[in-house]
Symmetry: none
Subunit: 215 residues, 4 copies
Amino acid sequence: MIELFSEEAGVSTRIPGAAAAMRKAPRQARSRAMVDAIVEAGARVLDARGWAGFTTNEVAGVAGVSIGSLYQYFPDKTALVDAIRRRHFDAVLAVLRSAIDGRAAPEALVDGMIAIHRDFPALHRVLLDLPNPYASEAAHQAFQDEYLRLYGVVVARHRGPDDADGLAAHLLSSAIEGVIHNAARRGLLAEPGLRRELLVLICAYLDIAVTPAGR
Amino acid sequence: MIELFSEEAGVSTRIPGAAAAMRKAPRQARSRAMVDAIVEAGARVLDARGWAGFTTNEVAGVAGVSIGSLYQYFPDKTALVDAIRRRHFDAVLAVLRSAIDGRAAPEALVDGMIAIHRDFPALHRVLLDLPNPYASEAAHQAFQDEYLRLYGVVVARHRGPDDADGLAAHLLSSAIEGVIHNAARRGLLAEPGLRRELLVLICAYLDIAVTPAGR
Amino acid sequence: MIELFSEEAGVSTRIPGAAAAMRKAPRQARSRAMVDAIVEAGARVLDARGWAGFTTNEVAGVAGVSIGSLYQYFPDKTALVDAIRRRHFDAVLAVLRSAIDGRAAPEALVDGMIAIHRDFPALHRVLLDLPNPYASEAAHQAFQDEYLRLYGVVVARHRGPDDADGLAAHLLSSAIEGVIHNAARRGLLAEPGLRRELLVLICAYLDIAVTPAGR
Amino acid sequence: MIELFSEEAGVSTRIPGAAAAMRKAPRQARSRAMVDAIVEAGARVLDARGWAGFTTNEVAGVAGVSIGSLYQYFPDKTALVDAIRRRHFDAVLAVLRSAIDGRAAPEALVDGMIAIHRDFPALHRVLLDLPNPYASEAAHQAFQDEYLRLYGVVVARHRGPDDADGLAAHLLSSAIEGVIHNAARRGLLAEPGLRRELLVLICAYLDIAVTPAGR
DNA sequence: AATGAATGAGAATTCATTCAT
DNA sequence: TATGAATGAATTCTCATTCAT
């Protein structure tokens, strides 16, 4: 499971204001386990039932804790959603970083994204459609910025540094998101053909910009 | 605005069972205007406030009609959502058809999609992630099938008929969806660069398959 | 059908205040037919669907008139209920009177009651359980008084005039009501055995008082 | 008050499927008291205001609990009605059983029925005429069967076993119901004369069948 | 700290009644 | 006069949140 409060997480991973949303920092191991269980249950419920089925009582039930305990650690539903989102988005950023660190970026990127979405196929989509009260803009913006910055690195490594406005990064990330999310919704994530075609798409797009004359 | 009950709509556009969801078919001009106003208001609310802010009273208020009138035409909330979705999806299919009819498919496709999503930037995303009971499965499946079939025509025209399993169509549609929806969410739909890059992506993907040896 | 506004109805039949509830006296034949149709439909709906299904729109629909026309003749739901009740209770009183006029009272009484309840088996019960806003006490009391008075005549003819407090009349009427209504509810009204046993009950009760020593 | 969840209740008293209607079984003393208060309040409201005045908010208010608490224990309005009915019908069956156990059946029967209906004079009538969806058919049928069976025992003990089709039991029960309910509605339950006359009726009917030639 | 019963504002839906056509 | 679309108060039910135990 992705650690929510890992000290070794990169600095840029920490979303500002994140910890502040927690009613109390869980110092004890038991508390930490409880928080993890709640976030895990929340992700599961959000993924399986969507926003409509995502009630605090349901999450508490799935987590196996009382509703009172849930509110011991999360001041309100918003804070819980924030934690779930943070966990998921951290995982996405981790995939991006590891893809950048490796040499064969596209393959690592695709495989990592597929892996993330296999556990909670619908979660990411749902998180992107935050109902109004749950959209803590600052945190979300921070994620978006880092997300696009990392994609920009990917683009730059293949296309060169001519994507000053970040449009190519935006396009590439959006297209990949779209493919992954739709495949997840239709249960095609495990399909080898999907992985192949997505790689084709990515390479085509990145190459074409590098050697536009070559076409 | 897309007419919901236009007589001149192509037959194949009508999703079977669609009209059945209406409590009563609006015959008078006034009734028709009221239904249109409600659907329009519903789309606006769903777009602006998301699923959580989409309450029947809010929609009625925005439409400027009483809540009773809303329920005169829509037996319940799901029927209203269905109508909104039908309207949007019909528009999407119309764009696809018109792009196929023309010779320069990609440009028409991209421009049409951008045009559709400019009015209600977030609507389509929300519509894709409806809570379970709100999806009248048959109608939705009918849309999906037609949607992929039309994309398949686009793919076949450029790549040739070697996409038997429809994977390329799936991939292309998903990627375009992802790009359009993300751009809509970030307010980049009017950006000329976005249009250009999306065309690059599409052409790259379609060409590459046509002449895979050429790479 | 029982005429609602028959001029030849006995004076004691007219419930005071009844006509006042009508918004306008239907002078034209068409109006009168419309009122009859509405009352008939109301009885049918009340009988078949009970209080919960008895809505003004439903009654208008069954009567084949517009809701506006219904309100043309009945100022509100209460007035409609009153008319239905009046019609049914008038029929009940008519049966009682005719049974008294004949010589073989019990048979005529039982047969008449069974006949009345065969058309609308549940109506009488429903009318006895008037929801609060529909209980126009004065009219109801007038019916009750006449009803018990007539039963008192039946009792007196067999038992003699020693039922000064009307208790025997009350008992006899209540018992018959109970039997008829329960049989109606269970679909046993046509059962010959039921008629026979009810006669046995009535005769036993009336005879026993006349000649208590004879047993 | 009749205990709703008493452990010592006879097994045959429990209508199968009855407890299943409860959202959660009240384990704590406080919960049990709350459920009792709600059912009690429901009976009071149904009795006093009839079906039309029986709103869940009204019941909650009379019970002195919040509407949320009501729904914590009763999944919907029908479940509450079922509980009220069960309570009343259990009391009726208990009276019948105790009357059968004693030797002087008619007196015990009449006194028991009068006692039951004195608290909520109009309740039983209303319960018999519930709108369609509110009758959990199986449970209601089970009550009816047992009810008629016990009346059949009473009949058999006095008239002999010649009521194979149960018509006499049906008639006797219906007549008694009618008398009791009408008396309750008119506030005559406490009247000694009523008790006397009802006994006369019952004895007359039962005796007459035993010695039909004696008349 | 943990529990889960209790709360009540808010959302969906109905239906008696009005009134413009 | 007849129509039926429009209205909105009233009703059922949910779920985020609190607090007594």
